[in-house]
């Protein structure tokens, strides 16, 4: 992907060449960023459109919607006092008219293909619309209110769980790679396979031990019912409910994550240039900072970014097992109903957040890893 054809600097004019190289580097970065924005934008549009297609079952959901409207209208006409004197034929006509009015109001008479693009446009402009069945805690039908209700709990649970695990693994991993072969190191290596089980699985065990047998902590939920009026008590209650799910996330990930970081650092610390640095007699700290941490930074940044992205979707199963009122559980409920606007809105926001993360990641990548050359002739190296 040769973005630019920089003329080779002539040997006779080093200053000009340097200036040229500088401006062309800026142009390259801008061009690169521009193409990335376009590419990621296209990806967002396609992903959202695919979700709309699936969530509407290619238009099948609308048939269900029309059937529901017809049923509602029929019930109303046959039961309402003012229509009692109408004949059967008149009633049927009336029903047909009222159904058509509602269908036109919802624009369900358009072909699904056309409507799907309207849904797409509404979605992309964050015009999230109204839910079909779900409501927010205060009874609002607006999808954004429903999502906002659930966002807090999910972020609370996932952020405490994932970030705790990520940073603990990073620092412990680095420490273990220094004290390679120690007892703690061997214990972590031995326990690494424990992460093959997902968080909800450990959650069940934790519930069994701490809720069912010992009775110390609640079975699930985010706050006790009824919620305490006092803010401090509310906070304590949430904290109490948070312990088990966060522990489940932590236990299920910490050993494998630590093992991965440790192995990763060990691989990089056995590189030749590290040996060279050691031979030169550089202090350990300097070797670590310059020769081990620096090349391992890009994958770590990727890892962190991907961890942050998963925060948004939450964990459907973990939230179900712990009855945690988060986005994962919302998605689950919405899919079962199905409540299409909620599903689509959730996807759209997820896609937007991801797009922003990926874009930032791309730019950060180019900065932290000089070996990944922006806009260079990829494929054949340089």
């Amino acid at each position: 992907m040769a973005v630019t054809n920089v003329p080779a600097p002539s040997l006779g004019a080093p200053a000009v060449a340097r200036r040229r190289a500088k401006t062309s580097a800026l142009v390259r970065v801008l061009q690169y960023t521009g193409t990335r924005i376009v590419a990621i934008g296209v990806a967002v549009v396609i992903a959202v459109y695919l979700t709309i297609l699936i969530a509407n079952m290619g238009g099948y959901v609308d048939q269900m919607r029309i059937a529901a409207i017809r049923e509602g209208v029929s019930m109303f006409v046959y039961q309402a006092e003012q229509y009692r004197n109408l004949s059967g034929e008149q009633k049927r006509q009336l029903i047909e008219e009222m159904v058509q009015v509602q269908i036109q109001a919802l624009k369900l008479d358009q072909p699904f293909f056309i409507r799907s693009f309207r849904y797409l446009w509404n979605g992309l402009t964050l015009n999230l619309g109204y839910a079909e069945q779900l409501t927010s805690d205060r009874g609002s039908r607006q999808v954004q209110h429903i999502l906002l209700d659930r966002l807090g709990p999910t972020l609370l649970l996932q952020a405490s769980g994932s970030l705790l695990t990520f940073f603990a693994a990073l620092f412990v991993g680095l420490a273990l790679s220094r004290g390679y072969g120690s007892l703690l190191d061997r214990i972590v290596v031995a326990l690494a396979p424990s992460s093959s089980a997902p968080a909800w699985f450990y959650g069940i065990f934790l519930i069994l031990i701490f809720a069912a047998v010992l009775g110390w902590l609640p079975f699930g939920g985010m706050v006790k019912t009824p919620p305490p009026a006092n803010k401090w008590e509310y906070f304590l209650s949430v904290l109490e409910h948070l312990i088990l799910p966060v522990s489940a996330v932590f236990i299920s990930n910490i050993f494998a994550a630590t093992f991965a970081q440790r192995t990763f650092f060990l691989i990089y610390s056995s590189e030749d240039y590290v040996e060279m640095a050691k031979a030169k007699g550089l202090p350990d700290r300097a070797i670590e900072r310059r020769y081990i941490l620096r090349p391992t930074l890009p994958p770590i940044v990727t890892n962190l970014a991907l961890t942050l992205i998963t925060l948004w979707t939450g964990s459907v199963t973990l939230e179900t097992v712990f009855n945690w009122p988060g986005l994962g559980q919302l998605f689950w409920t919405a899919s079962r109903l199905p409540d299409t606007p909620v599903i689509v809105a959730n996807t759209i926001i997820y896609a937007y957040l991801l797009a922003i993360t990926v874009l930032i990641l791309d730019i950060v990548y180019a900065i932290v890893d000089p070996r990944v050359k922006v806009g260079g002739t990829e494929g054949q190296g340089q």
């Binding site: 093959s196 069994l208 079975f219 060990l266 459907v316 998605f331």
Partner: protein, 447 residues
């Protein structure tokens, strides 16, 4: 073959690998046993439990081996059937055209607790007139308690606990307690000793047959206990094994090979290939995979095979391709790749022999973690209620336990048995994989 033997030999030096292989072999043995003793169709039929398949087992009973623990002595299901115990039935012609059948089931009851239910089932065949049946209960201390007098239709079930007249006769206690309670004790404790059920009936046809079955439902049953629908959990736990192993292996192989190959090809060739792969990945990453799977599961079909295939497909162009790519990008810039290019190595040679081996140390743990993750994938979708509609699997046992509030109600065995099997499967592969990792990646061996 010799290479395989050498690998095994090397592996046997790692205790964790030996433990892992032990778990896996145990599960493979269990899977073979399941497949050999019961065809899948029969397991599915039994697990669906149509009709009266599960009449004779107790509801929510814990495993019978709990009695081996000191201090636990709970009743186990006792099942007496004239078809299996022909000597318990005597027939006598009391008058011309009248035969008196006497069925007697003596049994010793030595448990510290009461049964959960007492039922009597009768079937009569080849008869023109309805026979008259009268049953009584003889306790160890010699009391005779009349149970039921009835005209029998072709098949009857007497649920003694629900017989309100009997309950009144027993002083307000349901039969499962009243029939066994010690009358001389202040506390409600069962009287130990020899009980006897006597059923007498008069038949009016020479070839008429009366069969009686007494079931004293225990608090414990079988190897794995039973669930809320009285189904013996052994079936699902046994047959869940081959299903879990197959799913785990197929899923893991499918996912790893495709993802890594595509990442390597994309990174090496660069240009439009890399671009296309990256664009697909980006679109795919923005699709919320698990919710999509849930949508397919709820709206289309819940078959385990379909859902696993979709999960693998959604996983090919996933986040891991991006981290593989990050690694490959660095590998590609390494001097030894430069050298390979300089001496004219082909693209395929560089990808297969120089690039992929380089990230193997990171890949093998991924593959290893994938087998259990596909085993757990089944459990995960089952816990969400998307389990395969037909197959008896570990995940479905677990999900039903969850749905029935097994932990709230103290039915721990119901959660623990499938969980332990999942742990064995997960740990088995993970432990083995960690050792394999060292065998196949000599570089790691010193780490």
């Amino acid at each position: 073959m010799s290479r395989f033997a050498a690998t095994i030999k090397q592996l046997s030096q790692y205790p964790s690998a030996v433990l892992g292989m032990f778990f896996i072999l145990m599960l493979v043995g269990l899977a073979i046993y399941a497949m050999a003793t019961m065809p899948l169709s029969q397991a599915i039929d039994l697990w669906r439990g149509t009709g009266d398949t599960w009449q004779y087992t107790p509801r929510n009973a814990a495993p019978a081996w709990l009695n081996l623990f000191p201090g636990i002595n709970k009743p186990v299901t006792m099942d007496f059937d004239t078809r299996k115990l022909p000597e318990s039935r005597t027939v006598e012609e009391v008058a011309p055209g009248m035969w008196e059948v006497r069925v007697s089931f003596p049994f010793d009851f030595t448990y510290d607790d009461f049964p959960t239910e007492v039922n009597v089932f009768t079937t009569v065949s080849n008869t023109t007139a309805r026979p008259f049946l009268s049953m009584k209960w003889i306790t160890p201390d010699g009391r005779e308690i009349p149970l039921v007098d009835a005209n029998l239709r072709s098949s009857e079930s007497f649920r003694l606990d629900q017989d309100s007249r009997l309950t009144r006769r027993l002083g307000g206690q349901p039969a499962r307690i009243g029939l066994f309670a010690d009358p001389n004790s202040d506390k409600l404790v069962p009287l130990k000793g020899r009980y006897e059920l006597v059923a007498e009936a008069v038949l009016f046809d020479a070839d008429a047959e009366l069969d009686v079955r007494l079931v004293v439902y225990g608090q414990l049953h079988g190897l794995a206990g039973t669930d809320h629908r009285r189904r013996d959990l052994t079936i699902a736990l046994l047959w869940g094994t081959p299903i879990a192993l197959a799913m785990g292996l197929m899923g893991a192989i499918g996912a790893t090979v495709t993802t890594m190959a595509i990442a390597a090809i994309g990174t090496w060739f660069g240009g439009w290939v890399d671009n296309l792969i990256q664009r697909i990945t980006e679109i795919n990453m923005m699709l919320p995979a698990f919710p999509l799977l849930i949508m397919v599961g709820t709206l289309v079909d819940r078959s385990l095979l379909l859902l696993t295939a979709i999960w693998v497909a959604l996983g090919i162009f996933s986040g891991s391709i991006k981290s593989y790519r990050a690694m490959f990008l660095q590998v590609k810039e390494s001097p030894y790749i430069e050298a390979a290019k300089a001496y004219g190595a082909s693209n395929m040679r560089i990808i297969l022999q120089y690039m992929m081996p380089r990230i193997l140390p990171v890949l093998v743990p991924t593959f290893v973690n994938l087998v259990p993750s596909f085993v757990f994938f089944e459990a995960t979708i089952s816990v969400l209620g998307l389990g395969d509609p037909l197959l008896p699997t570990w995940g479905k046992v677990l999900s039903e336990a969850e749905a029935q509030g097994a932990l709230h109600n103290g039915y721990y065995y119901w959660v623990l048995a499938p969980s332990l099997l999942l742990v064995f499967a997960g740990m088995g592969f993970a432990l083995l994989g960690f050792a394999l990792d060292r065998v196949f990646n000599p570089r790691l061996r010193s780490l």
